[in-house]
Amino acid sequence: MATLSHEPLDAAAATAALQRRDCGAVLTFLGTTRDHHDGRHVTRLSYEAYEPMALRELEALERESCERFEIEACTVAHRLGEVPPAEPSVVVVVASHHRGPAFDACRWVMDELKKRVPIWKKETYAEGGEEWVSGTKLEG
């Protein structure tokens, strides 16, 4: 089940939820906030979303990943608001019988998430100033 959350994401719980007796592989991707970007020191990172649409798109990614790849389950959670350095802003968990499709699906979900989901990241810099990270134009 897709989640948008203003609280810290619980990657361990998301992973445990997908450990199943019939699956041999569980892959968990954490996109964690970095304190550097293009040589600048980032002191603050925050995310904003068009929440109802973003949630629907995350749900679509979960569903489509199960259709496109030989996987049994996929969950995506994205954090909103301020995210301290080293904490995850996004958690994708994929469970499958065999490991190959888990890697393929998890990578696909992250690639698509960055192109399709109305979420925006803003960085604040130690040197002063803040900036919306340059992103990808949504295509209908």
């Binding site: 649409m53 989901v117 209908g140």
Partner: protein, 81 residues
């Protein structure tokens, strides 16, 4: 017709508001809404070419018709993850 416009990220900061009511003549399309919004919020002009627009949560194109009472969202290039 009336639309509830939502501004996100750079669009919100450039417009200086997170939402607004926009009144347009019957038969207006997405392009007409953008024209009106840029007239009202001149700082949106440099962003316009980069904006996607969703009507009631579905992406629409410049020539698509608007529905009275719809929610119109201005979506700058996305950078989630």
């Amino acid at each position: 017709m009336q639309l509830n416009v939502l501004f996100f990220a750079q669009a919100r900061e450039r417009a200086g508001v997170s939402s607004a009511i926009l009144t347009l003549p019957e038969g207006a399309c997405v392009r007409d809404a953008l024209d009106a919004l840029v007239r009202e919020h001149a700082d949106l002009a440099p962003l316009r070419a980069h904006l996607a627009v969703a009507q009631d949560g579905v992406l629409v194109r410049a020539a698509d018709a608007l529905r009275d009472g719809a929610e119109l969202a201005l979506l700058p290039p996305v950078s989630g993850g």
